[in-house]
């Protein structure tokens, strides 16, 4: 089960004559033909299919090789840098325009560019969606070098969408009910979230996740670039506790940053939407079956 990536997988072509051969899908190279069932991989295959076969006549003695395109095409796919869903100064005075410019424009952009560079080097990871890429490169706790950049791209996309101008206040509807059910009250949750954020050592993230197995909400922390996706949990909100996220605005005053996030920045709308979607995958509570 994978979440559809909120990142744009872009395809580009450049004119240079090259022999084209389809990249080996990872499941094929492991000799597991017939187990390639992931529909998401269709994205890059359909890109190849949409190319028109050569239309020129073959000369005598020439063989048509369908897998060799004579028309110049060099397909490469890359990840794009997605902008936050608001203007840079929309979060003032809680998160300054300067922070967004540096955090998004330099950190996030740097991660995206490193990711594209890594993917450009080796075909093995070609064809995954970002979510799958994170899971695969996490390698069950022994992350490959691509893991950090891929996960940070995803994390930052998620983070920008977890905030909104005029955020804060209380969650509504089902999310509020679920929070009250799992934490007792919203203020309990808020206190626990803030305390967790302040007791995190080093760089990391604080998450509100929906735990798939336990079917409940929980607060999770991860270090560096780890994300709850690798444990197959469903994140609803995130807060970046890397120092670069708050240093320009708050210097070392983490407590103020976290409080401001909870009071003015957090987007409960986004969390609600994510939770509604999560409920397609996780049953929260028993369905009410009417008795005839």
């Amino acid at each position: 089960m994978s979440w559809s990536s909120s990142n744009y997988l872009c395809l580009s072509s450049s004119s240079s004559v090259t022999q084209f051969s389809r990249c080996k899908l990872p499941c094929e190279s492991e000799g597991q033909r017939g187990k390639c069932q992931d529909l998401n991989r269709a994205t890059n295959i359909s890109a190849y299919n949409s190319l028109k076969p050569p239309s020129f006549k073959l000369d005598k003695g020439q063989r048509r090789n369908d897998h060799v395109l004579k028309k110049p095409r060099n397909i490469s796919a890359y990840y794009s840098l997605k902008p936050p869903p608001y203007k840079f100064d929309a979060l003032e005075p809680y998160m300054s325009k300067r922070t967004l410019e540096v955090h998004w424009g330099e950190h996030h952009r740097g991660y995206v560019e490193s990711l594209n560079k890594y993917l450009g080097k080796d075909d093995i990871l070609y064809g995954y969606t970002l979510d799958e890429l994170i899971r695969v490169t996490y390698n069950n706790g022994n992350p490959l070098p691509e893991y950090n950049v891929a996960a940070q791209v995803w994390n930052h996309d998620f983070f920008w969408e977890s905030m909104q101008p005029g955020g804060g206040n209380l969650p509504i509807l089902g999310l509020l009910e679920q929070i009250e059910k799992d934490f007792g009250s919203f203020s309990n949750f808020r206190e626990e979230f803030i305390e967790t954020a302040l007791t995190l050592f080093g760089s990391g993230w604080v998450w509100l996740v929906l735990k798939r197995n336990e079917k409940r909400l929980a607060i999770a922390t991860t270090t560096n670039a780890v994300t709850p996706l690798v444990w197959d949990d469903i994140p609803l909100l995130s807060l970046d506790m890397w120092e670069h996220s708050y240093y320009l605005d708050y210097k070392n005053d983490k407590a103020r940053y976290v409080n401001v996030f909870m009071d003015h920045l957090v987007s409960w709308n986004a969390a609600l939407a994510r939770m509604a979607r999560a409920q397609s995958f996780v049953n929260l509570g028993e369905p009410k079956i009417p008795v005839a």
């Binding site: 540096v102 330099e106 950190h107 050592f201 080093g202 560096n224 670069h244 240093y247 070392n252």
Partner: protein, 226 residues
């Protein structure tokens, strides 16, 4: 923007240890130079925040954790005592590491950046080939640290060898080897350079060598490897 310290830093903080109920508490050690003395490699603003806020926070939390540990031990509360270990590790490590860091830095006019002569200089040439190669290696490793951590030049006092190591968060160097003694440590937490260098950690690493105090490193080295 740099803030110049108007008062001599030596008047801030006291070096004596206080005894409260037999428990030793720690205080912020003085810097032997002004906050602005390391410019332009490290700005005065960063030095002031780093010393007065970050290091002080580590010390405060370390003292608090020690007090709680003392209580827990006195009461025989094993689970609390064990739970406090991570806080002691982190905050105590932060205090130890930063105390070494301040001694590792010196203003240019007091010898900062001047390469070591004597046995340390010779050992560097022997183990790494040249000073430039050592700097390149440490810069590469420092830039590669994910998240927060430190990069160290250390001497293995048993094997009498110089090594370059990195540690995560505030882990003390001994977690990488019980016989490692730190000579030069560079803080690559973002708070150490962000206000000045933003996310360009390699620039920070390149410039910090201009204010590294090799005299102190040589002293430590000569003590371990006479």
């Amino acid at each position: 923007m740099a803030l110049r310290a108007l008062t001599n830093v030596k008047t801030l903080g006291r070096l004596r240890h206080q005894q409260i109920r037999g428990l030793q508490t720690f205080t912020l050690p003085d810097l032997s130079y002004d906050y602005g003395a390391l410019e332009p490699a490290i700005s005065g603003e960063i030095m002031q925040l780093h010393h007065q806020k970050h290091h002080q926070t580590y010390i405060t939390n370390y003292n608090k954790a020690l007090e709680q540990l003392d209580d827990a031990i006195a009461k025989g509360d094993a689970s609390t005592a064990v739970k406090l270990q991570s806080a002691i590790n982190f905050n105590g490590g932060g205090h130890v590491n930063h105390s070494i860091f301040w001694k590792n830095l010196a203003p240019t006019r007091e010898g900062g950046g001047e390469p070591p002569h004597g046995s340390l200089g010779w050992a560097i040439d022997q183990h790494f080939g040249s000073m430039e190669k050592l700097v390149a290696k440490m810069n590469a490793e420092g830039a590669a640290v994910q998240g927060s951590g430190w990069v160290w030049l250390a001497v293995d006092k048993e094997l009498k060898r110089l090594v370059v190591e990195t540690t995560a968060n505030q882990d003390p160097l001994v977690t990488k080897g019980a016989s490692l003694v730190p000579l030069v440590g560079i803080d690559v937490w973002e708070h150490a350079y962000y206000l000045q260098y933003k996310n360009v950690r390699p620039d920070y690493l390149k410039n910090i060598w201009k204010v590294i105090n090799w005299k102190y490193a040589s002293e430590v080295y000569e003590k371990e490897c006479p």
